[in-house]
């Protein structure tokens, strides 16, 4: 860990019965950096995100987060209200299925406004103006601000989730397969959007993806997971162009071009 590490985890372990979903994982993340976590289905990627963000308690190991004042906090030892507060403003979580984090019975604008209010915004006109601005940033027609998300396409729902998550300018965003389940043309647009927003806002992110091309496009560094372990890490081009671990070589050789 260095003086400016934003998030740092050491020796994370978590088993579900006989399955070691995490078997001793270390992670470091610096401000403004995107770390892609890749690996086969069931290798522990989602479990890792849930442990890093404090939603799941590990059997062993620890996660530290450096708050804006520079203090290191043990994520799994902090009081529940402190963790909730982090999730409301400093952190964001983008899920593969936007329906899990959006409120489907609340308007598009309301979904963004709700998060702004949870982070402390009070002035109605200001909240609506910010929500409108965010819909435009994610390329949703602001005329649809009062529509329910039910009437949105999959790609629009994902963009709405991103607007809701980023509206509070979080410092750290966890993303679990943000482009999974979307068709390719929609994916490209979403990726470009995420790339631009993350860079403009200086957001750091742990991004889980099974798509090496997505990792290539968005991430500075990659961690490759297999059976609950990180088997290889490095700069994105190092890992993808000169893979060293047998599993990484298999992964890279099984896609056409990333």
């Amino acid at each position: 860990m260095t003086v400016d590490t934003l998030l740092s985890a050491r020796g994370l372990r978590l088993s579900f019965g006989a399955i070691p979903a995490l078997a001793g994982v270390d992670v470091d993340l610096w401000p403004g950096e995107i770390l892609a976590v890749v690996g086969e289905s069931g290798s522990g990627k989602t479990t890792l995100l849930n442990v890093l963000c404090g939603r799941l308690a590990p059997d062993g190991g620890a996660v530290w987060y450096r708050d804006p004042s520079g203090r290191l906090a043990d994520v799994h030892a902090m009081p529940a209200p402190t963790l909730r507060q982090l999730h409301r403003s400093d952190w964001g979580f983008v899920r593969q299925d936007p329906r899990e984090s959006l409120r489907m019975g609340v308007s598009a604008g309301g979904n963004v406004g709700e998060r702004l209010m949870a982070a402390g915004a009070r002035h109605y006109g200001q909240i609506r103006a910010t929500a409108t601005e965010w819909l435009m940033r994610v390329e949703i027609d602001p005329a649809r601000i009062d529509d329910l998300p039910r009437s949105f396409s999959g790609g629009m729902l994902q963009r709405l989730q991103i607007a809701r998550t980023l509206a509070t300018h979080p410092r750290l965003v966890f993303m679990d397969e943000p482009t999974g389940g979307l068709d390719v043309s929609v994916q490209a647009r979403l990726l470009d959007l995420i790339r631009g927003l993350v860079r403009d806002l200086g957001i750091a992110s742990v991004l889980v993806t099974h798509d090496l091309a997505v990792a290539r496009l968005l991430a500075q560094r990659i961690a490759v997971m297999q059976r609950g372990l990180v088997v290889e890490t490095g700069l994105t081009d190092q890992v993808l162009d000169d893979p060293r671990h047998p599993y990484t070589q298999l992964l890279v050789s099984s896609v056409l071009q990333a």
């Binding site: 700069l235 060293r244 047998p246 070589q249």
Partner: protein, 233 residues
């Protein structure tokens, strides 16, 4: 004597192919290369000797098996072979430029933005970077009507010229160029050779691979042979 900008000591690189039963292919053995400011060194050697491999080691993409890669960065030598990822990214942003043989296109990002981003990463203001990018693209024969379009639909030569503009815009103190003149017509080749001469004149240290011997002779100060290891083994 101009200062040495880049030096390798006993650089060794091979590949272990786990999908081929752990076969080990040695490619580079004990490479000692030194490049001074204002000097252009062309890598020589037959196909498969390891010229591109050496260039990728110098950029930190290929992780070495032994030896050091000393890069003059912020006034002191830094060993790229032992540097952590964040240090390598800092060296790439400020000191080390690389032009690959092919452009990796980013969906929806216009050519001029791709080029300008490289200058912004080195601290140029956004507006100035855009103007500079447009001028450089024009100089490399990429017409204005293409500047606002993503290069996905460009021809191979047009994409390569966008790639070159991106490599040259940031005025890095060290430049690594893999086949910068391949797939270019005579006029565009001359434009690239002009950029290389200007980079040398401002003191850049350049390592390049060029199969076109006429182009190579026009800009390279000397040839550094990369001996094939495979045949020797």
């Amino acid at each position: 004597m101009p200062p040495v900008m880049l030096r390798t000591e006993a650089l060794t690189k091979g590949f272990t192919l786990h999908l081929q039963g752990g076969l080990h292919i040695p490619v580079l053995g004990g490479i000692a290369l030194a490049v001074a400011a204002g000097e252009c060194v062309a890598l020589g050697g037959p196909s498969g000797a390891g010229k591109s491999t050496l260039l990728r080691c110098l950029y930190g993409t290929y992780r070495t098996e032994g030896g050091r890669i000393l890069v003059r960065h912020r006034g002191a030598f830094l060993d790229l072979a032992a540097a952590d990822p964040r240090a390598i990214l800092a060296v790439r942003a400020e000191t080390l430029g690389y032009v690959s043989q092919f452009l990796r296109v980013v969906p929806r990002v216009p050519a001029v933005t791709i080029v300008a981003e490289a200058a912004i990463a080195r601290g140029m203001a956004a507006e100035a970077a855009r103007e500079h990018a447009a001028a450089l693209l024009l100089r490399l024969g990429v017409p204005s009507r293409l500047h606002g379009l993503p290069p996905a639909t460009f021809s191979g030569g047009e994409q390569q010229r966008v790639n070159l503009a991106r490599g040259f815009i940031a005025d890095h103190p060290i430049l690594l160029l893999d086949e910068p003149t391949a797939s270019l017509d005579a006029a565009n080749r001359d434009a690239v050779l002009g950029l290389i001469r200007e980079a040398k004149a401002r003191g850049a240290a350049i390592v390049t691979i060029m199969h076109d011997t006429a182009a190579r002779d026009a800009v390279a100060d000397r040839l550094f042979p990369v001996p094939p290891l495979q045949d020797a083994a």
